[in-house]
Symmetry: C3
Subunit: 261 residues, 3 copies
Amino acid sequence: MKDPLKTLRETRPLIHHITNWVTIYDCANITRAFGALPVMAHAREECADMTGIASALVINIGTLTSELIDCMIISAAAANKKGTPVVLDAVGVGATKFRDDMAAKILNSARVDIIKGNYSEVAKLAGEHAQTKGVEATSIDADPLQVAKALAGSRSCTVVMTGKEDIISDGKRTYIVRNGHERMGSIVGTGCMAASIIGSFASVNSDHCDAAKDTLCYFGVAGELAAAKSEGPGTFKMYLYDEVANLTDEKVKPLMDFEEL
Amino acid sequence: MKDPLKTLRETRPLIHHITNWVTIYDCANITRAFGALPVMAHAREECADMTGIASALVINIGTLTSELIDCMIISAAAANKKGTPVVLDAVGVGATKFRDDMAAKILNSARVDIIKGNYSEVAKLAGEHAQTKGVEATSIDADPLQVAKALAGSRSCTVVMTGKEDIISDGKRTYIVRNGHERMGSIVGTGCMAASIIGSFASVNSDHCDAAKDTLCYFGVAGELAAAKSEGPGTFKMYLYDEVANLTDEKVKPLMDFEEL
Amino acid sequence: MKDPLKTLRETRPLIHHITNWVTIYDCANITRAFGALPVMAHAREECADMTGIASALVINIGTLTSELIDCMIISAAAANKKGTPVVLDAVGVGATKFRDDMAAKILNSARVDIIKGNYSEVAKLAGEHAQTKGVEATSIDADPLQVAKALAGSRSCTVVMTGKEDIISDGKRTYIVRNGHERMGSIVGTGCMAASIIGSFASVNSDHCDAAKDTLCYFGVAGELAAAKSEGPGTFKMYLYDEVANLTDEKVKPLMDFEEL
């Protein structure tokens, strides 16, 4: 897509979230800063209706309960029916059996278009041996590129593995994105925010592999620009929002650092 | 009221909230920055008791569930019994039938002193044809001034419609407030924050129309001052809190931009 | 402990929280800024498992429900079994009977290693006459030093009372900490954040009285440094995170202001 940010800002799609209580505010705000409209509605009675008027659904299991998982599945089914893209952020998979089981339940109950997680979360989803330290990745034995490709192939979806280098694969194409800054890991929530942005870009770009690559480049560039001005996580977070809101396609293009394998 | 901010800061009223999980932190912080004391307690077993020691109740249906609506009604009934002002922020009414039904259930179960929403939320509550895009207003066919007046008259309450121009009416008096800055719409939560501040001012001013007008002028002036210093939503939000905390009645008065119709 | 911060940053312990929806984001972020890894998982089905891989458990009853209290007790029991330290932040005890009852239920169902609260919350827990204005302390009749000592003695735990002067006692030793700045009280959440940090330091220091004293000195010094740069609660909060992340044991030591009684 030629000008993804311009397209997003002109379209102003509604991005429905069923997400976690830790980063819910940041998911909403980053969606807004990129130019889309966030909404968060997790009541069983309305979640399908809200999905029905939305252009993407982002589900994030960070503070899951059984009830929330049910609502995520109801919402994903509503999205599937309309062909609305569904993003799953598999927060904490690999930390407890319950998370592993609930992520599997979602994947087996509805079509997920984009699966996102850190290296150990995605490896665990792919059936590899992996442990997540709460919501923090630990090193994995398997080759991350192969893990992403294999999961994307077996689930017929796009897989996004975030880490020092981000990997994106739809089973056929695979990108590595090197934008970003370590300060993005010094605050809580940048991973969750990335899922919201992926949902936003995917709502205006049916090539989800491309939408995820654009997300990680654009958000990564904003992170690099914010890091250059900041002196710690407090100033970094503030400047991150300014930089995101002030991004343009023209500004980002020469700074994009990705590779197609 | 002559010096609403001074009065609020000397009184330090307790403002009880049953609100949404997206902006709950900002509702608490802005209440504190204006000089009141926020509390958020949504358990069915204690919500009436907490309302009993509070000077205002703010209910916000942004992330409603059936259980939360029940607790809002229990709390509102407790507030009604003591004559404590109740503010309803009708977030997302017009987006799903469930929201419309739950807002109606609240209004039919308890006395709400101040109804607040954006143009399409309030229009929908007033029985007009209106659709809300998630939690974002869309344009309405009806005349907003007539909508506000009619709803205030039929519900015997104060109605606050926020937008580029804010409209406040108790059915007899109607104010238009022009303070504020478009940057307030660039971050999530300023609408919810306004409801918390309305509750705060209403707790020390039995003229709720006046309390709502003061809120939107004072908060709007803080937004204007913060916007002048900021370069994006991150710096804006930070300065907004500084400006609110550093407001005085003397500083705001010459900057108030409102009209009584 | 000689270099608590260096130790914490090298260990990177996982700190499990079951906390409130108002300050959950700040609890996570401050844990990260100090160098530990936060996780928040309140589902009944996984809370014991998540506690099992954590190095401390922080429970905070700010927005309690009966269901959350059950999960806190399940988690605390799991922590007790492994000898993992448990911190209880008794938010709002003294405001409603339900809070008083639920805090008592936790304390009678599991071993709590560190009880934290403001003056009226702790006094109420200790059986004194005390009222909390929502989550805000009110003045108490009893001598706070005696209250802290007596509760620590009767519960065989460490008690932390926060206020203008912080009191820490394990029944034998008692510290008074004078670090901190009034601006810490101008924003919502610094009390909750302190509980998260106490859990972090206690996870690497079996002397919990010492860990709590270190917390209040280190966090207090960061607050003093941030206050010196800030012009209101917005800039203060931003700088607080920067200062915490940039603390070192060497920087804090000459600024620590505490007394052992």
